[in-house]
């Protein structure tokens, strides 16, 4: 469970709280960019990052992102992460 999944930062959602919208395998999820924020936050938009339990932990390049995503798909970890995100949304609605 200590694996990060590649996601792309698509927008900054809350500058003060260092939150951004990330797209992970077509699923959008708000994540914290506190661990990779240096300089203006806008520069993160379009960047790839390894995302672990809602936190962007390291910036990676597009090639590394594609390879890592494939490896995680092979292990079933990518699906697991996406299911966990859906479970998180359900929990917030009281359906979890």
């Amino acid at each position: 469970m200590c694996l990060g999944i590649p996601g792309r930062i698509v927008a900054i959602t809350d500058e003060a709280r260092l939150m951004a919208m990330a797209e992970v395998s077509g699923v959008r999820r708000e994540v914290s960019v506190a661990c990779i924020a240096e300089g203006p936050l806008d520069r993160l938009v379009g960047e790839w990052a390894l995302i672990h339990v809602g936190f962007a932990m390291a910036k990676i390049d597009a090639d590394e992102a594609a390879k890592t995503l494939q490896a995680l798909r092979d292990l079933g970890e990518a699906e697991e992460a996406l299911e966990a995100m859906a479970a998180g949304d359900a929990a917030l609605e009281g359906r979890g």
């Binding site: 469970m1 694996l3 390894l50 970890e77």
Partner: protein, 379 residues
């Protein structure tokens, strides 16, 4: 090479396997006298089985599966305490899904949920924070579980709760660290370990220097590795090269993701919120010095142990493993999963007796899923 067609780069994989075989021959590794390489991380264990690397490498290489699967090393007493907290009527208990099926002495979290406790699987501690904001009349507790990859997430969540003055949020901290159990295994006279494949995403947070003692004090090579099969083969090769050349160093095969000194923001958050416990209990391994974290006094208001008088804040409690469960022997590499009398009988992924059968990162679950009958036959 049945699995080789699944490799994205089969040519590279074949070349690496050939080099590994050459080096294994050169250092005299045989099936009878193998080189023992421990992959520390449960994600690596899963990948080794998924791609059949244990069968593809030269027969003189034996993988020993390390303690790097957080739910596998979670003692039953901690699960019992989770349930004790979760069964309080005012509590919304939030957890990563991985922990739901780990057996406690009475039941698992999933069974407690079925019996009516308000237990919710979340993706992130940030979800738990949001639940606390939305439910001011309830106590929202997050089960803080995992190694250094996950620890920054709960540290940052606690810092956010403190900034917001969120009085109904707390964390039941069971975070553990990678280097200390490795030291304990190296100190165990029964263990034979010749080298290590180091965890990738844990190291992205802590960097490579926390492993210096493995090379400096114990004279063993360690190579931090990525998750692609060729990353793992490359790392095994790097370990063998060190052995062949009489070197013992910390090397970084995964430098494209793992910075030498880790992630400074994550490390600062961990240091601000957490301190080391004098010791912590691991399922199958017992108490290990300085291997667990607790919440510092400055953040006591967000410490579920303090709030509910439970866990290491209360009297030390240890619960025996279920009868016939050999997780401890498997975890330390003394027994293969298939040699456990409960394997596939009293213990399956659907009805796990021991924790190693619960997670896909556990050695027993990996043997069950990918080794199956072939694995048993091979034994």
């Amino acid at each position: 090479m049945k699995y080789a067609t699944e490799f994205r780069d089969p040519k590279l994989a074949r070349a690496l396997l050939a080099e590994i075989a050459t080096l294994a021959e050169r250092i005299g590794a045989t099936r009878e006298k193998p080189v023992h390489i421990m992959e520390i991380c449960g994600g690596h264990t899963h990948a080794i089985f998924r791609y059949g690397l244990d069968r593809l490498v030269h027969e003189g290489i034996e993988f020993i599966h390390g303690p790097g699967c957080p739910v596998c090393v979670l003692p039953r007493a901690r699960v019992d305490e989770c349930i004790e907290i979760a069964e309080r009527p005012e509590v919304i208990f939030t957890t990563f899904g991985d922990a739901m099926r780990v057996p406690g002495t009475r039941k698992s979290l999933i069974q407690a949920k079925a019996a009516g406790a308000d237990i919710r699987m979340v993706y992130s501690p940030l979800d738990a924070l949001e639940l606390a904001r939305r439910n001011p009349g309830r106590e929202v507790v997050f089960f803080g579980l995992g190694f250094e990859t996950t620890t920054p997430s709960t540290a940052l969540a606690i810092q956010a709760a403190a900034r917001e003055g969120l009085g109904n949020f707390s964390v039941f901290c069971n975070h553990i660290t990678v280097p200390e159990p490795i030291r304990a295994l190296l100190d165990d006279p029964h263990m034979v370990l010749d080298g290590f494949v180091g965890p990738g995403h844990v190291s992205m947070v802590i960097g490579v220097h926390p492993y210096d003692f493995i090379a400096a004090d114990y004279g063993k090579p360690i190579v931090v590795a990525g998750f692609e099969p060729t990353d793992l083969l490359q790392s095994v090769l790097m370990v063998l090269r060190q052995i062949a050349e009489g070197r013992a160093e910390v090397e970084n095969q995964y430098a494209r993701v793992v910075p030498e000194h880790g992630n400074p923001v994550s490390l600062a958050a961990i240091a601000d919120v957490y301190e080391r416990r004098s010791s912590f209990e691991w399922r199958g391994l017992g108490e290990i010095d300085a291997s667990g974290l607790r919440i510092r006094a400055a953040y006591r208001a967000f410490d579920a142990e303090e709030r509910f008088g439970i866990g290491y804040a209360a009297e030390r409690r240890t619960v025996e493993e279920p009868e016939g469960c050999a997780c401890g022997a498997v975890m330390t590499g003394r027994m293969k999963p298939t040699a456990c009398p409960q394997f596939g009988r009293g213990c399956t992924p659907e009805m796990p007796l021991g924790a190693l059968m619960v997670s896909s990162e556990g050695a027993c679950a990996a043997y069950w899923q990918y080794g199956g009958a072939r694995g048993v036959a091979a034994e």
